[in-house]
């Protein structure tokens, strides 16, 4: 009763999370907690009542039919859009009123559905731009080439090659980013995001346009990234083999609302999800 009274006064009440956090993360604060998150564009509610909790080293999946609002959720988390309502807690800290750049410094890095690389710059420079906030020398030490510049540039060069080696892309370091083949551009975007040293990595359709063998390799690499960097990864993907294969918790979105949350098996057998994807099954109808 007391709780209900508080809510009526307009104060935020913690909602009991129905998300499944992997057992190994249970005793730690979750990396991401969204409650009552929502956004309206004019009169249109794009996302509503989005509640989710992601564990420290969880690989979480966000799926749903086209136009369900998946990318909008990513844009809300990274503050490309300011939410109309609800809160986002990152590692227990409120992200209200932050800019996208500040969100990145707080620990969320992302990739984009339509690739956004710095096309005119080299692959190595793209990664070094990801390292921007870890290099700490001023504009003047850069112009005057003080010892600090040489030290930090050397470290950045080595770190960039090290990060590129995750996807065996060291040989491409001098190539122009815009001239890379599609798959390599997607991988470079992941490397650039990782370079910002995030605690939560958001991947927007990482396997789009990849063939099955490339997707299988990507799956291995996503797990490898989680294991080596010990970070949480949340991904949007239409390739169900990838989602069902590596995601520990899956959240299904339709018309901006969460319609199901659970493990891969639970989602696959959930009638609401099947309906959202395939439409209502007619009585006596065939597959």
């Amino acid at each position: 009763m007391a709780e209900k009274k508080q809510f009526e006064k307009g104060k935020m009440v913690p909602v009991p999370s129905v998300s499944i956090i992997p057992e190994r993360d249970l005793d730690k604060t979750p990396i991401l907690e969204c409650s009552h998150l929502g956004i309206d564009f004019g009169g249109l509610t794009a996302v509503n009542e989005f509640n989710i909790t992601v564990g420290r080293t969880e690989i979480a999946g966000l799926i749903g039919p086209n136009g369900a609002g998946k990318t909008t959720v990513f844009n809300l988390l990274t503050k490309v859009y300011q939410p109309t309502r609800g809160t986002i807690l990152l590692d227990g800290l409120d992200t209200h009123g932050k800019t996208p750049a500040q969100i990145n410094r707080m620990g969320i890095a992302r990739t984009f559905q339509n690739i956004r690389l710095f096309n005119n710059l080299s692959v190595e420079d793209n990664v070094k731009i990801g390292l921007h906030n870890q290099e700490k020398y001023s504009m003047f030490s850069g112009i005057l080439r003080l010892p600090k510049y040489w030290r930090q540039e050397k470290a950045a060069h080595e770190r960039a090659l090290e990060l590129l080696s995750i996807f065996n892309m060291e040989d491409l370091a001098d190539h122009q980013a815009g001239s890379l083949p599609y798959g390599a551009q997607r991988r470079l975007e992941i490397v650039r995001a990782l370079a910002t040293n995030p605690s939560l990595l958001l991947l927007d359709e990482p396997a789009a346009g990849m063939n099955p063998s490339e997707t299988a390799e990507l799956m291995e690499n996503i797990v490898k990234i989680r294991d080596t960097f010990q970070i949480a990864i949340m991904l949007i993907e239409h390739d169900m083999s990838l989602v069902m294969g590596i995601c520990e918790g899956i959240c299904v979105l339709n018309f901006g609302q969460i319609i199901a949350k659970g493990t891969a098996e639970e989602i696959q057998s959930n009638p609401t999800v099947i309906e959202a994807y395939l439409g209502k099954q007619q009585e006596g109808g065939t597959d």
Partner: protein, 350 residues
């Protein structure tokens, strides 16, 4: 030789650019020593240096930072007028003209940088066409303001007046006289000073571009949303490029102003800004040695064809249109790409 091959493309381009400037200086000095340059060409040497610095600094804004600024001459005028005030008022105190020129250039750069911050902070909230309109307006506003400024120096110090020509000086020298601009300035600019300024500008711009800050500036140019997503403060780096360019333009303006006994504010109207933009576009966006060659060539050209000067702006327009047509021609681009493989990736594709 193998060391040269292993060098990064950017390092090679930088070395080439420095070499180009130093070689040009040595050749001109040799020609001057043998008296092989005409008086009118000699008179063009300092303006050429000024325009090179203007083109380099505008290239930092347009080519590297990707913002269209149409009021760059405004910063040049701030530099020219503050430089003149500094040089004339220090005439009694600092004996060496070279040192006085250096102080004037620093003063011009500092005040132009301040103007850059004042214009940049509100203007850089805008993008694309809107930024171009605001900077164009700034260029015109500054000319109009300077036409109303009167300044002079006497034993009691500097006197400034706005709109009122009467300065109440005792035995003073007027420095700025409204629409007439700077008056009674001793010419102290020299070709060597211009050469040093070009080298300093190159040093600042090339080192900035190849550093953490420069990468952030180019990241914002290439993809603003992605730059924000990797934690880059977009406004800070747009402003950094804009203010650095303004400061360099101010230094160039001081050098320019101290090359003539009198310079009127109208000299720095939008025609001048567009002229510098033409140098940048013809030289290639982001291409520093291209800007140097374009600025030098297009400053000499009208002088070389004195009788043709009436048609100069017409020729510029035609040349600009031709260059735009040529650079957007896919066949020509593919041909150039095959002839000059600039990066490994381009060569693989081409």
């Amino acid at each position: 030789m193998s060391k040269l091959k292993n060098m990064k493309q950017t390092t090679k381009t930088s070395i080439f650019t420095y070499a180009l400037v130093i070689a040009a200086y040595l050749v001109i000095q040799a020609l001057l020593g043998r008296g092989m340059l005409s008086r009118s060409t000699q008179g063009q040497l300092v303006p050429i240096c000024c325009y090179i610095v203007m083109a380099l600094s505008l290239n930092l804004v347009v080519g590297v930072s990707g913002e269209l600024s149409l009021g760059h001459a405004g910063f040049m005028s701030v530099g020219a007028f503050s430089g003149a005030v500094a040089a004339v008022s220090l005439e009694g105190m600092v004996g060496s003209p070279a040192l006085r020129l250096a102080i004037a250039m620093v003063a011009g750069a500092a005040l132009a940088a301040v103007a850059g911050v004042i214009v940049g902070v509100p203007a850089l909230r805008l993008q694309g066409d809107y930024l171009a309109i605001v900077t164009l307006a700034f260029g015109q506003i500054i000319v109009n303001i300077l036409q109303c400024v009167y300044a002079g120096v006497d034993g009691g110090g500097l006197h400034f007046n706005f709109l009122d020509p009467e300065l109440h000086m005792t035995n003073g020298t007027p420095i700025i006289s409204g629409p007439k601009g700077t008056v009674s300035v001793t010419k102290i600019s020299s070709f060597t000073a211009g050469f040093v300024l070009v080298l300093i500008s190159l040093f600042v711009i090339l080192n900035l571009v190849n550093s953490r800050s420069g990468r952030a500036i180019m990241a914002v140019r290439d993809n603003r949303i992605a730059a924000e997503s990797v934690g880059i403060n977009v406004t800070k780096y747009r402003l950094m490029a804009f203010v650095t360019a303004a400061a360099l333009a101010g230094a160039a303006g001081a050098l320019y102003g101290l090359n003539y006994s009198s310079v009127a504010p109208v000299k720095f109207d939008y025609n001048q800004s567009i002229l510098v933009l033409v140098f940048v576009v013809l030289g290639g966006l982001g291409n520093m040695w291209g800007s140097i060659i374009a600025a030098a060539f297009l400053t000499i050209l009208p002088e070389a064809m004195r009788g043709f000067e009436d048609y100069r702006m017409l020729v510029y327009a035609i040349v600009l249109i031709l260059v735009m047509l040529a650079t957007n021609n896919d066949n020509l681009k593919a041909l150039l790409g095959r002839l000059i493989p600039r990066r490994k990736g381009a060569a693989d594709n081409g």
